[in-house]
């Protein structure tokens, strides 16, 4: 989870290489679909409020709800493991795989398993891992990382996928989406049937009855968690909701916010391993609850970020994301939410430049189904890392603040600036300021100061 370059370095690289047009097209169209879905649901705003209340309550009493969830799950024959960090989670799962003679794993798309790099750990242990979400499957085949929380392969168009399939799967080239889908389905079907273990994430875990909700649009979640004999569900520690009724509220906002759907095509609810009278399901269910920085975040000034339900709406709404794509963030969590999640989970010192990469336009907060005040959280993180600002910005702001708190001095200083206005070019703009602000003037001109400040004009007017 380290990045060699700064965010600014990565976007410069991305701009040089050319950011795929697909990113802007896809985010815009989905943003529109989401607006349409919200408009068609009169209770949308009230449901967002309820969803936020439910998530807030879950975080307020997280210990109690997790305890309740563990008790019910254990009673039903599931095994729960608390992992303090990524290493503990990976160790538990690879040891389980070894103990159960697991050679093949099918996986359902899950951000937390990306976060802990579970695939790498399993492959090191000699286990074959196949991603079964179409987007994740493509990303895995290409040896890349997801560029979006909901659509891992947002950065590729169908021609990219067509070439990839022809090269990696030994099939004849086709760029017909239906045919490409068919190729992936045939390839995956065999993997599902031969898998020894299915690994999924957890969209929400219900405290009152131990239900694990898994949302997909492809049905791969259902196959992966029922066909193999062992199911491992990996969940971020904060993914809990108190009741089934709460779950219903969250699924309503999740589908609308993620994809503009009323409900995702498959909303699976897993409750324990197969019981004696049940015809199918896994023999074992293991739930791995991952902390990996979440407890620390819960006690921090940005705890609000743990309300996030990983819908990806803020990514699609974000003008920065639209311009640079997910890989520029250098973390598995891109976009506005990533600018808070990444530093809070993986270290603010290393990731201090992510919170700076925002114009604070607020489109993310508008889009967020649980109304997380992302701009405020970004300002909070900027306050904590203010020492990283360049010397010129720091001294400039300190000097400006001293002036602005001394009105008479401020008046004199602005009057002095107005003198420069008279030396300016005729048309009121300058192409560059010698030694100053090259960051501004490389692509923008500088307006001239007025020859008389408003303050002086007003005083003369009154006189």
């Amino acid at each position: 989870m380290t990045s060699q370059l700064t965010f600014r370095g990565r976007i410069q690289e991305a701009f040089t290489a050319g950011v795929p047009v697909a990113i802007e097209t896809a985010t815009r169209s989905r943003y529109q679909r989401r607006l349409a879905a919200a408009a068609a649901f009169p209770e949308m705003e009230a449901t967002r409020d309820r969803a936020r209340d439910i998530r807030s309550e879950a975080l307020r009493n997280l210990d109690a709800y997790l305890g309740q969830f563990v008790d019910v799950t254990t009673e039903r024959g599931g095994v729960v493991f608390f992992a303090a960090d990524a290493a503990e989670a990976n160790e538990y799962i690879t040891e389980l795989a070894n103990a159960e003679n697991v050679r093949r794993v099918v996986k359902v798309k899950s951000m937390v398993t990306e976060e802990i790099r579970l695939n790498t750990a399993l492959e090191h242990a000699g286990v074959e891992v196949v991603e079964t979400d179409l987007g994740e499957f493509i990303v895995q085949l290409a040896g890349e990382t997801p560029s979006h929380i909901i659509s891992p392969v947002l950065h590729k168009n169908r021609y990219d996928v067509a070439e990839l399939f022809a090269a990696e799967l030994g099939v004849e080239y086709t760029d017909d989406p239906a045919e490409l889908n068919d190729i992936a389905r045939k390839h995956l079907r065999e993997r599902f049937l031969n898998a020894d273990m299915g690994i999924s994430g957890v969209n929400f875990a219900v405290a009152e009855d131990g239900a694990i909700a898994l949302v997909t649009n492809e049905g791969n979640g259902r196959l992966s968690t029922t066909a193999p004999r062992v199911h491992v569900a990996v969940m971020g520690m904060e993914r809990i909701v108190p009741t089934r009724a709460d779950l219903a509220v969250l699924l309503e906002v999740l589908a609308r916010s993620a994809t503009g759907q009323k409900l995702s095509v498959y909303s699976n609810i897993v409750s324990g391993p197969r019981r004696a009278h049940e015809p199918d399901g896994p023999d074992q269910l293991h739930v791995v609850i991952v902390d990996n920085g979440r407890s620390a975040t819960l006690g921090s000034s940005v705890a609000e970020i743990l309300l996030c339900i990983r819908c990806g709406a803020c990514l699609d709404a974000c003008p920065v994301y639209r311009h640079v794509g997910g890989h520029a963030y250098g973390s598995v969590y891109p976009g506005p939410i990533g600018k808070v999640v990444t530093p809070s989970l993986f270290g603010l010192e290393e990731w201090h430049d992510l919170p700076a990469a925002s114009s604070l336009c607020g489109a993310c907060q508008d889009a967020c189904p649980v109304r997380i005040d992302i701009p405020r959280l970004l300002v909070d993180l900027r306050e904590q890392t203010v020492g990283h600002a360049s010397r010129s910005i720091r001294t400039g702001l300190a000097a400006y603040s001293r002036l602005a708190t001394r009105p008479r001095l401020f008046r004199l200083a602005t009057r002095a600036v107005a003198l420069f206005g008279r030396l300016w070019s005729q048309d009121g703009w300058l192409r560059r300021l010698p030694f100053l602000l090259p960051a501004w003037t490389r692509r923008r001109e500088v307006p001239a100061p007025a020859t008389q400040t408003f303050n002086d004009w007003w005083r003369k007017r009154g006189a």
Binding site: A356, S359, A363, T453, W458
Partner: protein, 242 residues
Amino acid sequence: MTEPVQLFVTCLVNSLYPDVGKATVRLVEQAGFRAEFPLDQTCCGQPAYNGGFAKEAAAMARQTVDVLDETEGPIVVPSGSCAAMLTHHIPDLVKDDDSYVAAARRVANRTRELTQFLVEVGHKAAPVECDERVTYHASCHGLRWLQILEQPKSLLDEAGVTRVDLPGEDECCGFGGLFALKMPELSTAMMDTKIANIEASGADVVVGVDVSCLMHIGGGLRRRAGAIRTKHVAEVLAGESE
């Protein structure tokens, strides 16, 4: 005796765009109020606040609250982002400072962005001579913190200005205060999208409620040497100066 209105013109208007301040005075007077200008106002602290310089921002916030709290009447600001600073962020900045909490709240409650104020008091925009097509760019902070969108457009329409729609009117132009300097490549990439949309609108003039965004967009337009210009909404609505 007409009711007083306190102008908080913002530091950028004071030094770079005083004509916007003068136009604001005319509009407030046309709406039937007596414009007053507290002379000791400086900067609301927004650039420092957005940049994470909480200490400097709080100092400027307190200065602003001191100056405005001793005055009477609505506080009118020809800037969506500075108005949002007064209504939302200053109260948040001083929330742990008991001596300022109440005053910051009073100032916040009295503060209105200019077009918001004009619409609230039922001002009808006077017809203006304008043979150019204008388009409206919705600056983010006014839009999302104060819901400024229809007010400026309806005033422009009332004034008889030919207004064309801006594709992606609610998308950020990429200014963002210090962001424009810290991430210039990204800031100007966002500006390029904004300018492409402005060009697609067919407008001669892009109008907004924040001179900061207009300075950024205008600086980019100027570098391209095109004919499109920027204007603050007050300059359009107030017509020619005396």
